[in-house]
């Protein structure tokens, strides 16, 4: 499903002519099968977020390839990448990243609007999913009227609404207390089982990482499969 080959990337800092290159991703090889939950664990600054950004198409890597179901996405132009994301990916963010002036219902509806789906169909889908994710009683609540856990549920529902084959989660429980964290993790697991969605979860929390079928660790830009104590 996801295949990454020889991926390397470096950030350039400093003024022009006197730039320094700081490598953040070093020769990464990575594979994810359909329906898996894969977690990438690493300390802050290890390069795991950059890796997610490359996977999601937010940035173009300097070296290497990213293939999604055989399609090379790492060479996409901005508009192509956006269109691909809309159809194939869902995103769960640490800060939920909900639209503050849209209510829960409208936030979940947004990707369907972007897809140009009919209002009636949209509403049907959103209502059904809100029920499934336990949000049906907060449909007209705005993000600032929701608890952290509820906001993240809305975030998850928004990621899920287009039935994407892959969902990327960047520290999905980073802003939640431990009780809510468990709720969210259970929801992710259940969605993975019922919808067969592939999850790639970035986290610094080993407990979160343990819900995954496979775990990778990122350390200084290098990715290795399995638990690496240096990385946690």
């Amino acid at each position: 499903m996801i295949q990454v080959m020889n991926l390397s990337h470096a950030f350039k800092i400093g003024k022009r002519g006197n730039e320094k290159s700081i490598p953040v991703l070093k020769d990464i090889d990575f594979r994810v099968k359909q329906g898996e939950i894969v977690s990438i664990v690493g300390k802050s600054g290890s390069g795991k977020s950059t890796f997610l950004h490359v996977l999601a198409g937010f940035m173009v890597p300097q070296k290497g390839k990213v293939l999604i179901n055989g399609t090379e996405t790492s060479t996409f132009k901005e508009a192509e990448s956006a269109a691909f994301r809309l159809e194939n990916y869902g995103f769960i963010f640490q800060n939920f990243q909900l639209m503050p002036r849209l209510n829960a219902f409208e936030n979940i509806e947004l990707p369907l609007k972007l897809q140009g789906i009919d209002r009636v169909k949209r509403h049907e889908k959103v209502k059904a999913l809100m029920k499934e994710t336990g949000l049906d009683n907060v449909a007209d609540h705005y993000p600032n009227e929701l608890s952290g856990g509820q906001q993240q549920r809305v975030g998850i529902a928004r990621a899920l609404i287009t039935n994407p084959p892959i969902i990327f989660a960047d520290e999905p429980t980073g802003s939640l207390d431990s009780e809510t964290e468990q709720d969210v993790l259970l929801l992710i697991q259940s969605l993975n089982q019922t919808h067969g969605i592939t999850f790639v979860i970035i986290t610094h929390d080993e407990e979160v990482a343990h819900i995954a079928n496979r775990m990778y660790t990122m350390h200084d830009g290098q990715l290795t499969e399995g638990s690496d104590q240096r990385a946690i």
């Binding site: 937010f58 269109a83 800060n95 990243q97 002036r101 972007l114």
Partner: protein, 422 residues
């Protein structure tokens, strides 16, 4: 994203910043209304002057003169009538011999003009009173007919002019024949109408106007031979076009037949050119006001983009096309432009109506005269063309002002935007 949803999206954003958007619309409204009202004055004064010129039949009038190549003008009257767009051809013939008019005890001298009143009626022979002649012995007299009829007072030898009623009165008219003798049997005419006073205050009209049917009788009295040289009549031929636009076409055809022509519409063209330049100048000045308003739109849109950086980042992350984001912002600024324009149009019509009602009162009271019934000043006219021009300029400027902020929105880096604090 469906167009309807795009509209909803834009409306939602506008609702969020009501005050700021309102102020921007207000600026756009003022700029556009300024343009429309300013240019409407140009249109208004132009129309007033044009109407004034058009209202007297002079504008569609083409005076025709004989030239060296073509001298049989009178015979051509019928052929002129056949030219396309000719409304009427009037051949006014003035009697060039001595005459004497007697009404009751008053005597005087009046010019005698013969014309085809069927043709005159087509272009509107203006009467102060009465009707046009229908028979050979019926006449219309000029407004100052009575002032040329005198009676000598026996007491102090002063001359008194006729001030009695004219309509229905009969007078006798004697002419000198070709030998220079007054005819013994003068003709009798009944006055059926009085002509309108000439537009120029100082002019007077003492003519007698009779229908062309009286011509054979008068010629018999004059006793001229058939030779043209002995004819006592002086012809003045005027051709009237149906519309001002056709004057040049008709003129051209008459010229092609070898005659000279003159028309006031030649001068009207110069007036039009002058006012076209004036209107263009006024629209240009008005456009500057819109450009000033556009700074407000640019500012509002730039702030909107800056404020929504994180939201734009989220939208891009979940798959919004950069072009869609650009379109949403351009639509927002276009909406400001459209609202500003619509309100400005309504406002301008209001201002225009008030100006047309109040300004003439001020002008005429400043001049110390009442508003004369026959002269109407229109200060401001808003034709649809002005609305179209102003709308294009205003909405165009709004879209251009929103363009750069919208481009900026598409360039927002997703990663940076997502890192922004809530």
């Amino acid at each position: 994203m469906q167009f309807k949803d795009q509209i909803d999206f834009v409306r939602q954003h506008i609702r969020r910043n009501k005050l700021r958007v309102f102020m921007t619309i207000l600026a756009a409204t003022m700029g556009t209304a300024f343009l429309i009202v300013l240019a409407s004055v140009g249109f208004g004064i132009h129309d007033t002057l044009r109407d004034e010129m058009l209202s007297n039949r002079l504008v569609t009038e083409i005076q025709v003169y004989e030239s060296d190549d073509a001298q049989n003008l009178e015979e051509e009257v019928d052929s002129f009538k056949k030219i396309e767009h000719v409304k009427a051809v009037i051949n006014q013939q003035r009697l060039g011999t001595n005459s004497e008019t007697i009404l009751e005890d008053y005597e005087g001298y009046h010019d005698f003009v013969v014309s085809d009143f069927k043709e005159e009626a087509k272009v509107g022979f203006e009467l102060k009173e009465g009707r046009l002649p229908q028979e050979a012995h019926e006449v219309v007299v000029g407004s100052d007919f009575g002032t040329a009829l005198y009676i000598e007072s026996e007491e102090n030898e002063e001359l008194t002019t006729y001030e009695g009623k004219l309509i229905g009165e009969q007078f006798s008219y004697a002419i000198e024949n070709i030998e220079g003798d007054f005819v013994e049997d003068p003709m009798t005419f009944t006055i059926v109408g009085i002509g309108e006073h000439p537009t120029k205050e100082w002019e007077y009209d003492r003519n007698i106007f009779a229908d062309v049917s009286v011509l054979p009788e008068l010629e018999k009295l004059y006793n001229a031979d058939d030779e043209k040289d002995m004819d006592p009549w002086y012809s003045n031929i005027t051709v009237y076009a149906d519309k001002v636009e056709n004057v040049s076409k008709v003129s051209k055809e008459i010229k092609e037949q070898g005659y000279y022509t003159y028309s006031i519409s030649d001068e009207l063209k110069q007036l039009d050119v002058f006012f076209l330049a004036l209107k263009a100048g006024l629209i240009f000045v008005g456009t500057i006001a819109i450009l000033i308003a556009s700074i407000g739109i640019f500012n509002t849109m730039t702030m909107a983009v800056t404020e929504r950086t994180r939201e734009i980042g989220v939208m891009k992350a979940i798959g919004a096309n950069p072009k869609l984001i650009q379109r949403l912002f351009v639509m927002e600024s276009a909406w400001i432009g459209v609202m500003g324009t619509v309100i400005a149009i309504l406002l301008s019509y209001g201002v225009s109506m008030i100006a047309n009602y109040i300004l003439p009162i001020i002008v005429f009271s400043a001049l110390g005269e009442g508003n004369p019934d026959d002269f109407e000043i229109v200060f401001s006219v808003i034709p649809w063309q002005l609305i179209v021009i102003a709308s294009i300029i205003s909405i165009g400027v709004a879209v251009i002002s929103g363009w750069r902020p919208a481009r900026k929105a598409t360039k927002i880096d997703v990663i940076q935007a997502l890192r922004q604090e809530l």
